[in-house]
Amino acid sequence: MNLTRLRWALWLIVALALALFGLFALQLSRPKDDFVQSALVGKPLPAFDLPPAAQGLPGLASTDFADGKPRLLNVFASWCIPCRAEAPQLEALRGQGAEIVAVAIRDRPEDVEAFLQGYGNPFTRIGADEISAVQLALGSSGVPETFVIDGRGIITHQHIGDIRERDVAILMDELRRAGSGA
């Protein structure tokens, strides 16, 4: 009687150890994910009002989003290399009818202007965020990032990293969904 109980207890320990190793194997086989998702998706944009980041383009305020039109909000910087890589994709999005506004992080006007001259300007507004205040308020952890904002100023989607070719259709889809007021 006692021995059978002991045997069961031993098997239980073996099973527990195997389950633990299984868990380790599962977690170790998963690729590392360094992305920090914004917890603000589904919530309204935080209030902000940024001065213009480049000559000839207006700055950006959270109130600019409340006119019923969905937009892409691109967080970028002239010193950021992947931001250059995504420029053609932003241009493609603009070509398909997306309105894109931007926040330039820790940037100087002359650098932003040179960036727009070199890689094209898909933006209608660019706000200058010299101390990453709006970036932190958005829950964005790096550049580039692109948010989809619906016509009431609600964040509906976050894209982390540069926009690749396959992401263009995804973002257009998200923009359409944000526009349909779902």
Binding site: A39, D107, R108, I131, L136, G139, S141, G142
Partner: protein
Amino acid sequence: MSHPILLKSSANVILAKAGISCSFEGRGGAVRGWWRLRIKSGLAILAMVVAMAIFATMPLPVAAQGTLPPAPYAYRQLDDPAQEEKAKELMETLRCLTCQSQSIADSAAPIAGDMRHQVRTRIAAGEDPEDVRQWLIERYGDYISYAPQVTARTWPLFVIPVLLLAAALLIIGRRLGAVAKEQ
């Protein structure tokens, strides 16, 4: 960061190879021994020079984001020591977003400086440190904070040790009871 370690070990391999090839060559008298030493140290120096040359050709990190000065309170302490103490305590338990294993108090990344600015200005404005932490958690999730929180996902981490301790005490108690009975 893996590059220096890799290079160090490859330099060791070069040195080891140099040592092996020399001992193959010279197994003779005193003069040949002296030559062996010369060859050995010569090869060691050669290996070091090669290793240093490889180091020199390694691309250095581009001084990006360095064009703008840091945020006003990134490196400046608050005038009120009590508030600075509160800010420091909080900054040591907030994760840097780019150097994800460092706190924002430790990190020299520009975004960490901008986060320190947020923490200091908010605390200077009279906000409670835990409210500032909550403000960041609302944006980045629990990941941003090093302070353990009991949530729907983390509660087993707090409950299991208590259960194990209770079970252990129960077993010890029963054993001791049984021993007392036998006597």
